[in-house]
């Protein structure tokens, strides 16, 4: 009996604490929105963060995109070839990247590369009382530190996702056309005939925007919420990756079902 009660207590506690954290993250989100003026009035603050989140993630995004594209080209070719429609490889690579892999893999890599960096940075600033010191200098840390990072993430993510898709398609092109020898004209024309700007490309960009908001908020919140100890910051960093990944995949399903349904 006691074990049962303990079990329910644990379940209840983990649910309420999660809901509590969700509420606090939402509150942080609104705080960021209302104190965002400075991020745009003094755009160089945001610019600096775009450099750290976007430009610094460029290499990992380009390299992974190229490999993902090449693998898609190879795998797609061997499957499509069985049905005698290897020219459709262009469509397969492009749709897979533009609709799904571009936004999703970019967001996952972003969470690992930039998200963890944000969490660790904010967590350490908190642990070393830098945020407190800023408050005492009558500077709102949400406006000065948090908001520019948020907007930088939201701006950088769609750009990174577009780069990912484009580089991935080039990777697929290299394998399919240059290595395997699929007809170049068929590769591009099939792609163009079947990829719709509004329904495929724009939807992909919308997805990456949503992921950008989610990833950055999670990273910022975990950093802001981390206990000010070495252990607390390291745990928060781990949680950033885990939570971001789950949220990205869950949101992806929801968004996709909306987009295909509507």
């Amino acid at each position: 009996m006691k074990i049962l009660i303990n079990f329910f207590e644990k379940v209840g506690y983990s649910i309420t604490s999660r809901i509590n954290r969700l509420g606090m993250a939402t509150r942080l989100f609104f705080l960021i929105i209302i104190s965002s003026g400075e991020s745009f009035r003094r755009f160089h603050l945001t610019m600096k963060e775009i450099y750290f989140t976007g430009v610094m993630s460029l290499v990992i995004i380009i390299v992974s995109a190229f490999f993902v594209g090449m693998v898609l080209g190879l795998q797609g070719y061997y499957t499509l070839q069985k049905y005698g429609s290897s020219e459709a490889i262009g469509v397969l690579v492009a749709l897979a990247l533009v609709r799904e892999l571009g936004p999703v893999v970019t967001a996952l890599l972003f969470a690992g590369r930039a998200g963890t960096a944000i969490t660790a940075e904010i967590g350490l600033m908190k642990a070393t009382e830098q945020l407190s010191a800023m408050e005492m200098m009558a500077v709102n840390p949400v406006g000065r530190i948090i908001a520019p990072r948020f907007w930088a993430g939201v701006i950088a993510m769609p750009i990174l996702a577009s780069i990912f898709s484009m580089v991935g398609i080039l990777g697929g092109y290299v394998v399919a056309v240059i290595v395997i020898g699929v007809d170049e004209g068929a590769f591009w024309s099939q792609m163009q005939a079947n990829v719709d700007f509004r329904y495929d490309i724009v939807n992909g960009v919308i997805k990456s925007l949503v992921f950008g908001v989610a990833c950055t908020i999670i990273a910022l919140f975990e950093g802001f919420d981390a206990p000010p100890t070495a252990e607390g910051v390291s745990r928060a960093t781990t949680r950033t990756v885990v939570t971001s990944s789950l949220v990205i995949l869950g949101l992806d399903f929801i968004l996709t079902s909306f987009m295909l349904g509507g």
Binding site: H44, M47, K48, I50, Y51, G54, V55, L58, A94, V98, A156, P158, I159, L160, S162, I163, S165, M166, V167, I169, W188, M191, Q192, A193, V195, D196, F197, Y199, D200, I201, V205
Partner: protein
């Protein structure tokens, strides 16, 4: 970090992003020719639409001229009512013929338009009267077997 150098990098980053997006739009999505902005819609009735779906292409002489907007079932006449959006740049005579074709043997289905000889053109809300249903593979096969069987008698 030098401020000018930082700005330059961010500028390069955004530029690469814009180029990628443009590349996707032009080279991959073929925004320039496939983009249908202003359309007029007409309806066509079919006994059987086969596997036709909303957003399927409308083709005339193989050129995409529009998209299927919606498909509903008419409960009075018991047939399918297909609403079609056609690009304003392309005008078709009133007696245009609408067929449902299949791209290849197993490909997706689309609506093919064949122009008639009427002097007046189709306008917003008009109905295409001459239609031909989708070819249903099962029907074809059963017809074929039936005729084979009757030949042998």
């Amino acid at each position: 970090m030098d401020k000018i150098k930082l700005d330059a990098w961010v500028g390069i980053f955004v530029a690469i992003g814009v180029i990628s997006l443009l590349g996707l739009a032009m080279k991959v999505g073929n925004l320039t020719s496939n983009d249908i902005r202003e359309t007029y819609s007409v309806i066509a009735h079919f006994e059987n639409i086969g596997g036709l779906k909303p957003r399927a292409p409308i083709k005339a002489a193989g050129v995409v001229v529009g998209r299927v907007k919606s498909i509903v079932f008419d409960t009075k006449a018991y047939h399918a009512v297909v609403k079609i959006d056609i690009d304003k740049r392309y005008a078709f005579p009133k007696d245009t013929f609408a067929n449902i074709y299949t791209a290849g043997l197993l490909g997706e289905q689309y609506v093919g338009l064949e122009a008639g000889g009427d002097m007046n053109n189709l306008a917003e809300g008009d109905r295409i009267t001459q239609t031909q249903d989708a070819v249903v593979l099962e029907k074809l096969i059963s017809q074929f077997l039936y005729s084979k069987a009757s030949e042998e008698e």
